[in-house]
């Protein structure tokens, strides 16, 4: 029998419907793959094989009775940031020790309602703060990719590093992820997978552990563009429980795949040509332009003049929101408590023990920029710059641009425990230089694999779209995928 974990979601869906495979068989194949690989890759924090098999059995019953949902029997991995009823939900942090919510996040509830099967909870940077998955309380995730002829372990990117690694190593058919500054798109680019951050307001944030509420969005990481479209259709919804959920019907994203690009105008922003960018990324970008041109799109040079200010503005806005959101971890209502001589000492010791270094750093920056005397100079200035960043995009869309093509990351995956990045937090932050603008402006962005570098590591391109125009992103990304082909990591684990 062929390896069932090799099937894409679209292929598995067809075979399940045709009854050539069962959901129980498919789920069993993934459970076995996880057992064999997870010790080496550390992608899953918790696995739920019994729940998965029970869900698969229920899927088989619905498939038999003709009541199958859009994702019936498809085994998925869930980022640890999503609240899952009765199951480990800790945002990969020590401070949420033992937390098992009595509720289900809207996004995961949507997936289960469509028949998907849960394999377990995926590793991530603590509270989604990081670009390498090294800030997790549960340890680093290893990238399934290695440079040609090398045994050195590489990071899968972050914060959705467990999601990206699990998809790339075929430890799930697809995964949920979240993106506050690039946490879906950067790990997707580092692992040769497809990741889309939809428009702010497209997926409900209800039941997802909050990091920076005005930037956080859920989205899928998948093996190809079609699978990402299938997953987003189920994840997205209009939700009364999230007041920032927007009342726009969810379209059939898959229907956009295969549509010709004739008439589409693709913008190429000159500000994304940054100093020190490897020549191979520049070449890949040029190649992407050629592919879209060949497919009938017209290419125009554009300018987004405030691009360079997006990352510094982000490092004020995101920590400010995080310092407020993370104030709830006080040792009283859930998770870890470290006793103290009075309540303030109890708070301080609990938070000192429970939060990792990077999370503490961001809470401290956020507290500082919101404190008396600094609010106007930092926070208000950053929110004004954010208005300008968004206006840059509005201007080019107004001028007729349908989507924008950029590199996804300024480099391929780097090594675990990189000394330069450990010494200077800003070096790590620069990973998000091409992705963070999209969060600041609330726009949709997709990362799609476009080639390998000289060492054989995957590189991705990013497409940025108009608000709620994810369809154009799927349509265009599919053309890149068709031209570039798909990339799979050689199994070493």
């Amino acid at each position: 029998m062929t390896d069932l974990t090799a099937l894409t979601i679209a292929e598995a869906r067809d075979q399940l419907k045709a009854k050539t495979i069962s959901a129980a068989e498919l789920t069993g194949a993934y459970i076995e793959a996880i057992e064999n690989a997870n010790e080496a890759l550390n992608a899953y924090i918790v696995t739920t094989p019994e729940k998965a098999l029970a869900m698969a059995k229920a899927s088989d019953a619905r498939l038999a009775s003709g009541n199958a949902g859009a994702l019936e029997g498809i085994p998925l991995g869930i980022k640890d940031l999503f609240g899952t009823e009765g199951i480990h939900t800790q945002a990969a942090s020590h401070i949420l020790d033992g937390f098992k919510p009595n509720y289900e996040s809207t996004v995961t509830a949507n997936l289960w309602a469509d028949g998907a099967v849960m394999l377990g909870k995926l590793n991530m940077d603590e509270f989604a703060m990081g670009s390498s998955n090294e800030t997790s309380y549960y340890g680093a995730v290893k990238n399934p990719w290695r440079a040609r002829g090398s045994n050195a372990d590489l990071v899968p990117g972050g914060s959705s590093g467990g999601s990206a690694a699990a998809v790339a190593a075929r430890l799930c058919a697809g995964a949920t992820a979240t993106d506050t500054g690039g946490s879906i798109r950067q790990p997707a680019a580092f692992t040769g997978t497809v990741g889309i951050k939809p428009t702010y307001g497209r997926c409900s944030r209800w039941g997802i552990v909050a990091f920076a509420s005005s930037l956080d969005q859920a989205g899928p990481i998948a093996r190809d563009v079609r699978d990402a479209a299938i997953l987003l259709k189920s994840m997205a919804s209009v939700d009364v429980k999230d007041t920032t959920s927007v009342d726009v019907a969810v379209p059939d994203y898959e229907a956009a795949i295969g549509k010709p690009l004739a008439g589409l105008k693709i913008g190429i922003p000159k500000e994304y040509r940054v100093d020190g960018m490897p020549e191979e990324i520049e070449r890949l970008w040029q190649q992407g332009i050629e592919w879209l041109k060949d497919a009938g799109a017209s290419i125009v040079d554009i300018s987004l003049p405030h691009t360079k200010y997006a990352l510094p503005a982000y490092y004020i806005v995101a920590p400010a929101e995080a310092s407020s959101n993370l104030a709830r971890y006080d040792g009283v209502r859930y998770g870890l408590r470290v006793p103290g001589k009075d309540i303030v000492e109890m708070y301080e010791k609990t938070r000192a023990t429970g939060f990792g270094e990077e999370v503490k750093r961001r809470i401290m920056i956020g507290t500082y920029v919101l404190s008396a005397g600094y609010y106007d100079a930092y926070y208000l200035q950053a929110q004004k710059v954010r208005t300008l960043i968004k206006k840059d995009f509005e201007d080019v869309f107004h001028a007729g641009v349908d989507a924008i093509l950029t590199p996804a990351t300024p480099s391929a995956a780097f090594g675990i425990a990189d000394q330069d990045m450990a010494a200077d937090p800003v070096k790590m932050y620069l990973n998000d230089i091409f992705t963070v603008t999209v969060n600041m402006a609330g726009l949709p962005g997709i990362a799609v694999p476009a080639g390998l570098d000289a060492r054989g590591l995957p590189l991705g391109l990013q497409l940025i779209g108009r608000p709620f125009d994810e369809e154009t992103l799927f349509q265009t990304a599919y053309v890149i995928e068709q031209a570039a082909g798909k990339f799979n990591a050689a199994k070493w684990w």
């Binding site: 309540i343 750093r361 507290t367 100079a377 300008l388 968004k390 937090p425």
Partner: protein, 95 residues
Amino acid sequence: MSVDISTVKRVAHLARIAVSEDDATRMTGKLNAILGFVEQLNEVNVDGVEPMTSVTPMAMKKRSDIVNDGGKAADIVANAPIHEENFFVVPKVVE
């Protein structure tokens, strides 16, 4: 702008994070690296620019003023480190 070690300790206390002398020293350098990086925002002319309040233009949603949830005290305290009879238990705060 940059922070010194006494500011770091003050901010840590505001954030309710206990820091040792060593922690504070180590944090000072890294926080200053970040503050140095964000300094460039001062170059931007923001005259007459409104600060962003909502990234997606939309009217604030309002829900009906009706009770639609509740009666689940046991669920709410279920994850508390210490609870008694549906109350969170904390160290004494009032003498």
